[in-house]
Structure formats: C-alpha cells, structure tokens
Symmetry: C5
Amino acid sequence: MISFIKKGIAGSKLGKPPGTILSFSGSPEKEVEFEHIRYNSVDFRQKMLKGSENVPAPDDSDDITWLCFFGQSDLGLMNRAAELYDIPHLLLEDILNPDHRPKLEIFDNQILIIVKMISINDEGSLVAEQVSFVVGKNYVLAFQEFPGDLFDPVRERLKKSLGRIRSMTADYLAFALLDLIVDNYFVVLEAVAEVLEGLEMTLIKEPSEFDVVDIHDLKMQLFYLRKIAWPLREVANGLQKAEIEIIRPHTKMYFTDVYDHSIRVLETTETLREVAIGVSELYMSNISLKMNEIMQTLTIISTIFIPTTFVAGIYGMNFEFMPELKWQWGYFGALGFMLMIGLVMLAFFRRKRWI
Amino acid sequence: MISFIKKGIAGSKLGKPPGTILSFSGSPEKEVEFEHIRYNSVDFRQKMLKGSENVPAPDDSDDITWLCFFGQSDLGLMNRAAELYDIPHLLLEDILNPDHRPKLEIFDNQILIIVKMISINDEGSLVAEQVSFVVGKNYVLAFQEFPGDLFDPVRERLKKSLGRIRSMTADYLAFALLDLIVDNYFVVLEAVAEVLEGLEMTLIKEPSEFDVVDIHDLKMQLFYLRKIAWPLREVANGLQKAEIEIIRPHTKMYFTDVYDHSIRVLETTETLREVAIGVSELYMSNISLKMNEIMQTLTIISTIFIPTTFVAGIYGMNFEFMPELKWQWGYFGALGFMLMIGLVMLAFFRRKRWI
Amino acid sequence: MISFIKKGIAGSKLGKPPGTILSFSGSPEKEVEFEHIRYNSVDFRQKMLKGSENVPAPDDSDDITWLCFFGQSDLGLMNRAAELYDIPHLLLEDILNPDHRPKLEIFDNQILIIVKMISINDEGSLVAEQVSFVVGKNYVLAFQEFPGDLFDPVRERLKKSLGRIRSMTADYLAFALLDLIVDNYFVVLEAVAEVLEGLEMTLIKEPSEFDVVDIHDLKMQLFYLRKIAWPLREVANGLQKAEIEIIRPHTKMYFTDVYDHSIRVLETTETLREVAIGVSELYMSNISLKMNEIMQTLTIISTIFIPTTFVAGIYGMNFEFMPELKWQWGYFGALGFMLMIGLVMLAFFRRKRWI
Amino acid sequence: MISFIKKGIAGSKLGKPPGTILSFSGSPEKEVEFEHIRYNSVDFRQKMLKGSENVPAPDDSDDITWLCFFGQSDLGLMNRAAELYDIPHLLLEDILNPDHRPKLEIFDNQILIIVKMISINDEGSLVAEQVSFVVGKNYVLAFQEFPGDLFDPVRERLKKSLGRIRSMTADYLAFALLDLIVDNYFVVLEAVAEVLEGLEMTLIKEPSEFDVVDIHDLKMQLFYLRKIAWPLREVANGLQKAEIEIIRPHTKMYFTDVYDHSIRVLETTETLREVAIGVSELYMSNISLKMNEIMQTLTIISTIFIPTTFVAGIYGMNFEFMPELKWQWGYFGALGFMLMIGLVMLAFFRRKRWI
Amino acid sequence: MISFIKKGIAGSKLGKPPGTILSFSGSPEKEVEFEHIRYNSVDFRQKMLKGSENVPAPDDSDDITWLCFFGQSDLGLMNRAAELYDIPHLLLEDILNPDHRPKLEIFDNQILIIVKMISINDEGSLVAEQVSFVVGKNYVLAFQEFPGDLFDPVRERLKKSLGRIRSMTADYLAFALLDLIVDNYFVVLEAVAEVLEGLEMTLIKEPSEFDVVDIHDLKMQLFYLRKIAWPLREVANGLQKAEIEIIRPHTKMYFTDVYDHSIRVLETTETLREVAIGVSELYMSNISLKMNEIMQTLTIISTIFIPTTFVAGIYGMNFEFMPELKWQWGYFGALGFMLMIGLVMLAFFRRKRWI
C-alpha cells in the first residue's frame, strides 16, 4: 500500500488569511535591486535602484514607465510597489505565488497578466519561470521569479529605438514583452521537436541505442508544456478581446498576433505529443519484433538439434544387445538419419517462412 | 459468469418518500455536541452546546453566527436546526447523505454548499469527508460528516482577529471555510505528486523494487480525486457568478480566487493522472525489455551449447565402426570443431547486435 | 471474411407505415389484466381489471387516476387506452417498441416519459425493462414491458398514506415512480461496484483465480449502463426545466433532485468503467510479470545446466586418445570445472538481479 | 519509405470548373429508364419511361409526382431533369458525386437531401449506396446510385394505399423514403451485432477458431458506419427543425421520429464499436494467457529433465577413475538422486502455483 | 537524460520587432519573376515581370487583376507590393513566414487567406507549401512559397474561357484557386488511402513483408494532415459566413461548397487515422500470434525430446551394475518406453489443442 505524507508549501499555507505571502527562501543578505526605465519617443533613461530606495510613483505624464522587479525575496519592496500602483492584495499574492496558473485580470484602469516563461538553460533542461505584468495607462510593472536578463532584447529595442516601440503606448510595451515570451515557446518547441526527431531516427536506424526513459521524459515535458500553454492561450484571447481604454485600438492587432502564436504553440505541442506517442508505440512494436526474432532463432536451433541429440543419445546407450551398433554402416546410417531430421526441420521452417 | 447481489445502503432506501433519512450507525450513547460561535469586529464568543439544548435561532443583529455540527447521528437536532433556519427537507436529506455529489443551491436568502473535504489521515491514506454549509445573511451553518477539528485554523483567525475576518460578513466566513477546504486539496495533490515521483524514480533506478499495484492504487485515487474535483469547480464557479444579496460585491473577488484554485486542482489532477499513465507505460516497456534480455541470454547460451553438445553426443555413440574414434587427433579435432561452432554462433550474435 | 445475415426484428418492420406495431409474442391465452388506482388525500381505491373491460376515461375531478399496464401483448387494450387519453399513434409505437431510446416528449397537456428500469434478478443478472409514463393533469398511465411488482413501494406509500404523496398532484406521483427507477440504478451500481472490488481483490491477492472473461463481462455491462444512463439524464433535465402547467412549481424541486441523482448515476458509471479498465491493465501487467518470472526460472536452470551437460558430453565421447580420461584426478577435475561454470552463472544472474 | 502515387477519381477532377461532372463508366449501350409515379388520395399511376423520353415537368396540381432515377450514367437525362426542376448545377454535381458527404440543403421552395443507404447484399457484405432526394411542393425526385428495387415497400404502400400515405403531401413521401433508409441501418446494425456476438462467443468458448482479422474487419466496418451515421443525424436534425413551407406542421413529428432513430443508430454504432474493442482486448489477453500456459509447460518439463539429464551425463563420462561407477548401488543411487531432483522441482512449482 | 539545444529559425527571431522578416536563403543571384494576369469576359492578358519591374497598381476598372508571386526571396518586391495594395506589415510577415497556421482575416475591403497546399511530388512524398491570397474588389494577389505551376489548371480555364470564370468577379477567382487547393487534398488522401489499403493487404496476406515503420510513417503523415486540415475548415467556414462586400451573394454558394469539401477532408483524415490505428493493432496481434506459434513449436519439440533424451542418458551411464543393460530386450524395451513418453506428450498437446 502506498502511504501519503502531508507536507510541502501548500501545507504551510493552510488556513492562513487570503493574501498571506510566505517568506521566501531568497538570499536576504544580498540587497535586492530593481530597474526603472522611463522613455518617450525622444528620450530614454534607465537606472538600477536598490530595494530600499523609493519606488517611482505613477504620474500623469506621457512618458512610459517600466519597472522591472527581479526575484521576489524583498516583500517590503513588493508591498510598497503594490500600494503605490493600487494592486489588490489578493493579486499580489498571486504574483508572488510561483506556482500560480497563468491568468488575466482586467480592471478599469489596470491589467494583470500572469504567464509562464519557458526557456532552455545552459544545461539543456527546460526551465519555467513565472512572469507577471501589471499594465496601466502609462506604466508596466514586470515581476520575474528569478533575477535574469530575459527582457534584454526589448531593452535593446527601446535603447536603440528599433521599430516603433518608443513612439507607442504602455500596452505596446506589454505586447512586446509578451511576444518575447511566446516566441520563446517556439524556441523550446523546436528544440523538443529536434530531440524527438533524433529519438525517432535512433529508434529506426540504431534501435539498440534507444533509451525508453528518454521518450518517457519527453512525454512528461510535453504534458507540462501543454498544461501551461492552455491558459496562455486564454490570456492571449482575453487580451485581444478586452474592451478597455488601456488597450488602444491599434495595438489590438498585435495582441491578435500573440493569440495566433499561442494557438500555434498549443497545436505544435499536441502534434509533438502525438508523435511522441507514435514513437513509443513503434518502440513497443520493435521490442516485440526483436523478441520474435530471438525466439525464432532459439526455436530453429533447438528443434533441429534436440531430436538429433536424442538419436545420438540412443546409440550412446550401453545395452549389450543393440544390433545396429554392430552393423558396418550403422554409424553412417545414424549420421544420415540425423541429417535427414535436420533437413526436414529446415523444410518445415521454410514453409512457415521463419527462415 | 459474474453474478450481482442486491444490497447496500441504496437498497434500503428504495421507494422511501423523498427526504427519508436513514438512521445512521452513529454512537447514540455518547451525547452529540455542537458549537456556537458569535462574533463581530469587537467581540468573539464560542461555546459548545449539548445536542439536547436549544439551537440558537437566527436574528437580525449585525453579529455573525456560526453553528458547527459534528457528525450526523442526532437526527432530532438536525431537524430542529433545519426548521429554525428554513432548510427544505429535500436539502437536509442531501446534507445528511454522506455520498452526495458536491453541489450548490442558491435561494433568495440562503445558499447551500455541499463539498468534499479531502485530507490525509495519520495512517497516510486519503480520507474524504462531506462538508455542507448553509449560508444566510448573518449566519453560517456547517455540517461535518465526522467530528473533527478541521476548521480550527479559521477559529484561530476569528479568535485572534487575524486578517480582516472579524470585520467581514457571513459570506466571507463561508469563503474562509471553503478556501481552507480547497487548500487541503493542494496538500493532498502535493503528497500524491511526491509519491508518484518516488514511484517514477524507483522504476528508473531500481526497477525490481517497483510494485505495479502501487501505481494502480495511485491511478484509482486520482480517478476518485478527479470525480470530486469536477463538481467542486462547478460549485466555485456558481459562487463567483451568483447574483444574490448575501454575497457582497467585495467578497466576489474572493470566490473568484477559490474558483481559480479549483481549476488548478483539476488541472493538477489531470496532469498527475497523465504522469501516472506514463509511468505505467514505462513499466510495461521495462517488463518487455527485461523479458527481451532474459530471452537473449537463454538463446545465446542455448544456441552455443546445444549444437556442440550434439557433436559430443555423436562421438559418444557406441557404434563398432566409427573411424574418427581411432584417429590420433580425433579428440582434439572434435574439440576444435565444437569451438568453431561456438565462435560462429558468437559472430552471428554480434552481427545481430545481441552481444 | 465475415458475412452478415439480414434478419431480426428491425428487418420485419422495414417499409411498414409509421406507427405499425408488430404483434408481440405475448401469451394470448392468458387474459391480460391492468390495474386502476384512484386516490385523493382522504380516499384510496385499487382494483385489477381484465383486458376486455373498459379503460377508465379521464375526467375533470380532483382525484388522481393511476393506470398501470403490465406487459404489452394486448394491442386492442393499448389502442383503446391511447384513444381515450389522446396518445398519438407514433408515440404509442415508441411505448410499445421495447428497444426504444429513453426520451421525454412534452405536450401542452401531457408528458410522455420513456425510461429504462434496470434491476438485478434472482439469478444475479442485470435486467433492463422499458417503462413508459403518460402524465396528464390528474392521471398517470404507466406501461411496463413485463408484468411485475416493481412499483409496489409506491403503492404501499399510497395505501398507507406515507409521506405527503396522497395530498400531492399527478406530477408528484410521476416523480415518485421515476425516483424509484433512478434509485434502482444505485442498487445496481452498488452491486457492480462490489463485484468489481471483488475482482480487484482477487487479482491482487489470488491472481490465479482471476478470470479475464469476468472483467470483460463487467465492462460490457458498464457500456450498456452508460448507454441507457445518458438519455436518462436528458429526460431528468428536460423535466426539471419544463415550463408546463402539469408540472407544478413545488414539484420542480423534486425533479431537480431526480436530475441530481441521474448525474450521480452517470458519474458513478464512468468511474466504475475507469476502475474496470484499470483492473484490466493491472491484469495485463500481472500476466507479463508472471511470464517474466517463468522465463527467468527457465533461463536460470537452462543456462546453468546446458553448459555443464556439454562438458559431461565431452568426456562421454569414445575417442581412443583422450588424455584427460586417464588422469587420476580427471573425474574430480571435471566435476570441479562444472561446479565452477555453475557458480559463474549464478554470480552472473545475481549481478543482473534475477535471483 | 512509403511512397504515394497521384491518381484516382479526385485526381482527374483537379482544377475543373465547379459543377463539372465526370462521365461515368455506366453501360451506355443499355438505354437508361426512369420511373414516373403520380398519385392522389383516389388515384395511382406508375410507368417506366425511357431515358430519351420527356421528363414530366412540375405543375400546380394537387397530385404528388414521384420521379425515380436509377443509376446515373445518362448525363443528358440528369441535366434535363435538373433544368426542369431548377436544381442548381453545383447541387447536381453533389448528387452525381457518389462519394459525397450526406447533407441537407434547404431552399425556399425545395429541399435537397443526400444520404447513404446501407444494406446487406446477397453475399453478406455491407453495401453503401448514395441516394439523393429533391423535394418540392408536390413532387419528390429520387436519385439512386445503382438500379435497384430498394423503394419497393413504399411503392407497395402507395399502390395498395396502406396507411395514410396516399392522402399526405410530398414531404410525407420524402419522410417515408427516408424512414425506409434509416430502418435499413437497424437491419444492418442487428446483423453486425449478431456477428459480433458470435465472435465474442467463439473467443470465449472456442478460442482456437477465432480469427483476429474478422474482428479487425468488423471494427473497420463500424468506423465506416459511424462516419456515415454522423451526418445522417445532422440531416434528420435539420429536417425536424426546418422552418419552411414545404414541410407541413403535421409531418414535422414524423421527421422528429426519423431524428430519434438516427440518434439510436449512432448510439448503437458507438456501443458496438466499444464492444468490438472489448473483444479485441479480450483476445489479446487470451493470447498472453495462452503464451503463459505454453511457457509454463515448457519450463516445467525443461527444469525437471535438464538437471537430471546432466546427472546422467556425468555418469556417462568415460574417466578411468570414477569411484561411484564401481559401487554396487551406484546405479540405483543415481536413479534415486535424479528422482529427488525431480520431486524438488515439482514442489517448487507447486509452491509457485504453476501446477 | 535528454538535453535540449536552443537554435533554429524561431531562435533567431527572438525579441525582434513585430513584422521583422528574416532574410530567406533564396538564391539571390537568379532574378525573381512574378506574373501579371488581367482579364475580363472578352479579354485575357498574361505576362511575366522581373522582380525589379513596377508592380501593377490597383485601379478602379472592371477588369480582374491576378498577381502571382513565386517564392519569397525578393523582400523588396514583397514590400512594394504590400505598400501598393495596403497590406499591413504584420500580415506581410504572416504571409512570408512559411510556418504560419492557416488563417483568414477579413477587412473592410480586403481578405487575407493563408492556407497549406498539399501535394505529392515526383519522389512520391507529401509536400506542403504555404499559399496566401490577398483578395480585393477586383484583384487577387497569390503568394506561393516555392516557384511552381500549381495554378496552371486555373490559368488554362481563364485562357480558354472554360466555364464562367472569365465573367465572374475576383472573389470567384479566389474560390477557383482555393477549390484547386482543397481538391488536391483529396488526391493526397486517395493516395494515402491506397497505400494504407496496400499495407493492410500485405499484413493480412504476407505478414512477413510488412514493415512496421511504414505504418508509423503513415500515422505521422496523417497527424500532420489533420493538423493542417483543421484550420483549413475554419478558413472555409469563415469565408462562407463572411458578410462583406467583396464576396458577392452568388459566390457564397461556391464557398459553401469549399466548406463541404473541407469537412470531408477532415472526416476522411480521421477515418484513415482510425484505420491506420486498426492496422497497427492488427499487426501487434499478429506478432503475438506468431510468437505463440513459435513458442508452441519449441515447446512441443522440447517436451517430447527432453524426457526421452533423459532416458537415453540413463542407459548411457557407465555403472558396472545396471541390470537392464544385460536384458535381451532391454534395448527395445527402452526404445518402446521412449516412444510411449512421446505418445503421451502428443496426446497431452492434442488435448490442449496445440496440435
């Protein structure tokens, strides 16, 4: 019988008031930093602030403010930011819960987006990180689960004023960040597809090198990908349909694009999963086939030699009265008889198409 | 042929008028108690009442009344409570039927919630308990299937006035209780996930220790979890969408949170089920692989020694006229011939990549 | 090649005008009876009528009339009843077709309900019987496929005036009968669950007693149960949503109860089906496991003794010049060599964890 | 690698203007005939016309005209009929494409129905034939794919004025023909069910007679049946819901009946498919079981005799110095030792419950 | 452990502004050409233009303009065309992304259609090519992924004025091109069906020739086909339902026809997939069956000869005192005994129905 043990993160949150945020095992000795970017079509400023410094407050200017929080260990900072930008406590809890389901909440003057960023790390493993955005009229707050430079391409575009990003509103910045995240799914799916194709090739060309645990691992990864890709699609759909002032009519089309991509992510995931299942089934067929071959070899050898050995055994008996033993051609007769048995067996196997 | 026997609880209820409640096998000798909690933002009173005492009647005060019934053996008490709080007889039957499907019924001035509480007991088994709530303007009636302290965390929060629970209305209390129940699902799912991961590891690292009945048990548990998690989602959805005076606008957001969690419960259950299926399949592959290995060993040994034994058998025959027996190098020639057969077989196996 | 034969009941109805009712193989020699019950809150009359007697006509009184037809062999009686109670010919055909799909038809002043009654007979087999109801303002016509006492519990409640059935309208009587039918599903499902659990236990504790045909039979029964439970749910749903005068507002809640139960029937059926599939899979794993064990035994014995027998065979050869034969310690040396082979093999198997 | 070849009917239609009808391989030497039936409640006329004769034009009389075209080789005739009865060219193409999906098109004064007629031919194989109807105010045009007498039962009812068919409108005639087609599905499904039951019985009682290709064939037939039954349901649903003058209110109920039957066809098909899958699985279990039994027999015999043969081999060695050979009871001691080995093995097998 | 590598096309697009088009590996040395066709009911002109020439601008004439771009390596040309015909940059990106999901975008005066053309190339492999159309009031722009003559049948109809294509509007031209693409699916599906049928036949008649990798390949192809056929259906559905001026009422019926065909494509794909699964399962049954046969042969031979060889071994022992050896009929008695063992075994196998 299996027996379960009550523990883990969920356990320690039992019965706490909603909005309770557990203290994270972040490294408190190293002071947390956050980034403040402010730009408009002609200007771009970027600076790193210490966790203890003031969080820039929202204002009514036309400049776009982008605050980027790395890691989530400094709860005080989070709370100050939440207060300044009117983020309800329940939602802050969702942002800081690294295991939250991707979701979209649309308020009158704010949008909350929680998604999973998926990427390949240097060891070649898939890593999922929760990324949340709070998007307002002229600001975007981005919360990454771990410190990291994943938004660098967008920073680059802002700094070098590539494309029209600098002349667009905050919702476009949100789109650019989300688009980057969805594009990463394709990078991951391409890598998965390549590994899967490699496994398929190995199975077909070099079956003995094939490790069934690999395909099992891949299937598990694809389950996980599908699980987080489904709500991503919902988020993208919600954004393209949102009737809210923050999302300008001309950025809607961009969110539609993100939605299209998220559907493609889902479909590709499904297809890869079916291919993985197909490869598993092919593998099982191969095992059965190889077993058949092995057994066939054994059976052919055994059924040829077991009867002939029996004949040899007969003439190895030590009875005093065994007339054949005294015949001049007895030995060769026996050999001939055994040969005949062998040939009959071979003919039988050929008729059965075993050889 | 299988043959069925008519019996069980369902059998004894056949054709009874609706609302018939079977007498339970509760222990009538021990008098039943129930708990009466009454609080507002400044005050908190809690007392245990005997089953024979008067059930506190609903009133119009702004205090919140929470009645908590443990176990369901005292039908008289149940009936008195139902009468006082206007609970229709059919619904009381649902509350007292320990096998009822989770459901939500919304009336003008009352909500009935039936859910399954799932937890891990001291023996490490999953236990499901039916818990029902009747929520009114300023009261919550909670019915537990078995006596127990599962709501203690909420009592604690009330007593110590943690968070804002004391200043909120009865619907918030209902939310707090429901939230506690849903959070317990995560505790269970985490424990299940851990066991599943353990089984997967065992299978990969130490296949001989793996017991297929364990994974079968786990799959059955996951079927059951899914069966009760589905209607839980419906209940949470109904609550977040309810257009009724009892549920205040500012508590809606909390029920949305419960709904989010219930979806995550469902998705996690599904994912665990797929992982469990994946582990089963991996196990079947492993069995087949091991069989292949066993057969390969047998075949290699057999096909090398069966023909050579046959050769030895030939020269063990007692024919009078066997010229080879007299040759000086006959013995070593025979040994050499057998060695050659063995080497040919080994070469054959190597070409087939069996060794 | 499989080849099909055109015959059966369906064949004989080909191209007949709609509403054609085939003559049933009922026993015409025994005269058919039907039952006439008439009651109100103070009075209750019950009598058996011969098939040739007049069918009581509908009237405008406040008394409830319940006509109960047993078996369907007396077509004349059926037709007279249909005419009196304005049952369209097509619907009478549906009622009398024992293979009809459960369905609900709602007319302005009449409801037609066709459901399957499922029960366990004395031999322990599942029996399905089609039961139809025609419900009007103050009457219920019940048509059973076979004579039988399945509605006795309701008759009892009417006679003894248990619960409030006597003071309620005809729709409540219809509910009471339907409720009885749905409750019977639970009796059946409990019996199926028990058998299934028994099979699972047998498989785990005493696998050699397990008969795969039993689990196959059970799966087939569950397919059938699901097939008839699906439309039952639709019928119950239609009744609880019907906007029609015959169904009084205060009986709606009862039909909602029936609907809840029918969903539970469906879910339980699904769960049992999944458990049955799980048991089948466990069985297949067990077979494979046992095969592995058998093969392992064979391989261990064979690979130990085949090489040693070969060595014995060598020294059983009759060559004149075999130096070892003359050595004093040749025999014990050979025995030792064979022992060594055996030990090497055992070590090899232990390393492979086969023993 | 598999490689595909571009050919077939679809290939020859590539890029043709819509409405292009390929010349059929019908036998042009034999002149095509078509049937003209005209009736009202008092009169009935029926005649066969040659393909070259005029197609009777639609008129405004109250008589019902039924034109029945057998086979589709005479394109000129088809075109003349299409022109007279205002059938759009695209739809004529659909009617004449023998591979079209069942569909319903409702126009203001015409309905086009394309369905598959399924029946069992004299060789016991399933045959599908496309049948199309064009239904107008007072006419029905029926197009059969092959000449045949499949509508004879309806002709009979018309001729003998059975039921009320003669007094009804054209939509009722369409219903009668469609009903005949749907009823044929039941005949086929009954035959399939009987074959399936036969296979199941064979598998359980006489497994060696069971041919796996039969169940494979049956599953393929059921796939095909499901594929054509799905759109049939849609057609029936469309007809029962059609809001159009041609379908009189009092015939709606008949189309509802057809719809009910088409759902039953679908459900029965699904159930049969599941039973077929169940039988396949039972078969696979049986194969595995039989394999186990075979292997068990081999293992028991081998493991008893291989070690004892080894002992015999030892005492068959020709060493000069083998003390046991000279013992008086050596022979019987050896026999006893071998017997003991055999008994130990048997005990071992019994403990493992193999014998 | 599997490990993933980040690379591929998706990788190089990460974080680029939307609408970024990667330079394609087209051969820039060869100048790109595009085709300009302009026609009305009386006139038809066709010419090839160099990529450097001016793209004909849209005008208000009643002539239909059809521009056909082959391959996508000349980005400058694409951009000029996009500007002239007001194609938004995001959509141009979609057109030029060879991996885009089929989709339909409907604007006020333009429709964008992206579909996959599927065909069989000269090596007998399936080839998918992305084809996009931009349809305006009096023009159609077609973008092929690779140069090729796939639209030749439509060019032919235009040139020879076959059917009514020359007298119809631009939407009809779009329909003709789309219809050609959908018809190609049927060609492919017919080829797939034929290969599948061939595999099925091989499996049934000549199982040893059957290669499991073929059926695996086929299943993978069918996955792919289904993946691109699903959105094709959506595109066709969108077109038949579009409420927009460009699509004239009388061409709607044609798009409905395309929709019907796309559903048939989907259904046929599904059916083929189920047949492929059925064939796989039949194959697995066959492997198991063959294994049974092999093992049966081995077991029969082994269990007959292993015990008899044992008997021969006994009388081959060299004990000095073995009374049987001296009996006159000892040899024949032993032979008889062995024969008896063989016969008993044969009887045993016959009773088990193995022979």
